[in-house]
């Protein structure tokens, strides 16, 4: 043997008999469910009746257009997109306030977090919707926006916010969702800021940085890198939690799926399809965030 010889190959990880047995058990359990549905429940699968609600042929133009379920998915994506941005902004500000020296700011942010974390989301949404959205929005004139104004009646607005006629409804759902998720993001941001070593604050102060520059150049960039994994998890939770908004009649995926399930009576097909849509959406974002983490990790692990 010489020093130059290549190292021995690592042992290959292979599936053992026990692993296969485990797979078989899981498959058997799934098979049992399918058998129950088919043989015992005597369920009549009619996928085409539900799939019609994904896309349909427009009678006038003869073109394929999005039907209820796909429209709902788009609304959910819009909610997820704007909700993520809004929740990130609120969470960043509140999370920073949680770490401030000012007692007033700490009290405000702490109260906000505790209030939302200790009320069931459903209750919060009802309170918010019935007391705030029905009072504040009319006062701001958001309840009856002029749908024919050029600010609203254009391609970008439709793409970004959906049907202008449903905008106030969409907006109340969006704010609700963002306020709710931002409470959790607040705590993640606070933990991130507190994880930056004291010496970093001191070094920044010692060279005479203003508080704003200190946060922007030193603290936040380091905090964000550390909190990226829990933050990604919270954004995916936001997408899933957006289903609750259906209860205040925001016409997103779950709301429209309820209507489709009721009108077709095809409950299994509808919810399995909708579940698959949510899965695809969340899994896609999980994949994107995992990529971002790898990139952020590269610059710190050098």
């Amino acid at each position: 043997m010489t020093r130059r010889a290549p190292p021995p190959a690592p042992p290959r990880r292979r599936l053992t008999v026990v692993d296969w047995l485990l797979f078989a058990l899981v498959a058997a359990a799934l098979g049992y469910v399918v058998w129950r549905v088919n043989a015992v429940l005597v369920y009549n699968w009619e996928w085409h009746r539900v799939l019609r609600f994904v896309v349909r042929v427009d009678a006038e133009t003869g073109q394929w257009v999005a039907n209820l379920l796909l429209q709902g998915l788009f609304t959910t994506i819009r909610l997820a997109f704007w909700g993520t941005i809004l929740a990130a902004i609120i969470g960043l500000i509140m999370g920073y306030w949680r770490t401030c020296n000012s007692l007033a700011l700490r009290i405000i942010s702490r109260t906000y977090v505790e209030l939302i974390r200790n009320i069931p989301p459903l209750i919060f949404i009802f309170i918010f919707y019935f007391f705030i959205a029905s009072q504040v929005f009319p006062a701001l004139g958001l309840n009856n926006i002029n749908t024919s104004s050029p600010w609203v009646d254009n391609a970008f607005f439709r793409f970004a916010f959906g049907d202008p006629r449903l905008f106030s409804n969409f907006l109340s759902g969006l704010i609700c969702l963002a306020l709710f998720e931002a409470a959790y993001i607040t705590e993640i941001v606070r933990a991130g800021i507190q994880s930056v070593k004291k010496g970093q604050w001191e070094a920044g102060r010692a060279i005479g940085l203003s508080r704003f520059n200190l946060l922007r150049d030193i603290i936040f960039p380091q905090a964000i890198r550390k909190i990226l994994p829990p933050l990604a998890g919270q954004f995916i939770t936001l997408i899933k939690d957006s289903a609750i908004i259906s209860l205040i009649s925001v016409q997103e995926l779950t709301f429209l799926a309820t209507e489709v399930a009721a009108s077709t009576t095809k409950v299994f097909e509808t919810w399995i399809l909708v579940g698959a849509m949510y899965f695809a959406l969340c899994y896609f974002f999980a994949f994107v965030f995992a990529r971002l983490e790898v990139r952020a990790g590269r610059s710190t692990n050098r």
């Binding site: 070593k197 001191e202 070094a203 920044g204 203003s210 520059n213 150049d217 710190t300 050098r302």
Partner: protein, 250 residues
């Protein structure tokens, strides 16, 4: 004009600080003239670091007056950033910004605080990196450097703000023995250039070569002030003598 330039750069009188009930600094009176090099030594917990951290208000004092370049430094004051820009500080644990390259660590201060253009700040920064003999590492990230290299970068970063005085808080205590000489060399070169320096250190060789005065502290008070020659050969107080014998014992 002559009046201001003859005035001490740092004037401390009657300075007191408490941590809760614990008296960390008590009745500190000390002036540091322009161009003077002061070494502060003393046992751990004697308040050396706390004292120099009061000068740029990383710690707030509760009593007494503190003037830097004739301007009073008060706890919680507005515009403390202005004073900090004139006071460079080097920490025991370097505290470089790990998410920025070495060059960006240096450029940040002048760009953000002095409104310098990025190109000009880079030139300035490269000049100081050459001075601390580390210019070839400009594009690396701090965690890639050795402790000694990091500390020299930290010195260059403080110098980039073109401060009037440099504070060193045990700059070699966290370093491996073979790294210490490089950092001390840089500090000695800085001293020869006429920089005003206050150095908290136990490096007695450095103190002998560089210091104009040695300040010995114990239990939050200044116990003895002497020239290095006097202090190391014939300390006046028992406490200083005891400290020196412990330092030389090993």
């Amino acid at each position: 004009m002559t009046e201001t330039s003859e005035r001490p750069l740092v004037e401390i009188s009657g300075l007191c600080k408490w941590y809760g009930e614990f008296s960390a600094l008590y009745d500190i009176n000390m002036n540091v003239a322009r161009g003077e090099k002061v070494v502060i030594c003393g046992p751990s917990g004697s308040g050396k670091s706390t004292l120099i951290r009061c000068i740029n208000q990383l710690e707030e004092h509760q009593q007494g007056t503190l003037l830097v370049d004739g301007k009073e430094v008060r706890p919680g004051m507005k515009g403390i950033e202005q004073i900090r820009r004139d006071v460079g500080m080097v920490f025991q644990s370097f505290n470089l910004f790990p998410h920025m390259t070495v060059l960006d660590n240096l450029v940040l201060g002048p760009v953000r605080n002095l409104g310098m253009s990025r190109t000009k700040a880079r030139e300035l920064a490269m000049g100081y990196l050459e001075k601390v003999r580390i210019a070839e590492q400009a594009g690396k990230y701090p965690p890639q450097l050795s402790g000694g290299q990091q500390q020299r970068v930290a010195i260059a970063r403080a110098l980039c703000m073109q401060p009037k005085i440099m504070l060193f808080d045990e700059p070699t205590s966290a370093l491996d023995p073979e790294m210490i000489a490089g950092v001390l060399d840089v500090m000695e070169a800085l001293a020869r250039d006429g920089m005003t320096m206050i150095v908290v250190t136990h490096e007695m060789g450095f103190a002998r070569r560089v210091a104009d005065r040695v300040v010995f502290m114990d239990e939050g008070e200044i116990v003895e002030v002497a020239t290095p020659e006097e202090f190391f050969t014939a300390p006046k107080t028992d406490r200083a003598a005891q400290f020196l014998s412990q330092l030389l014992a090993h």
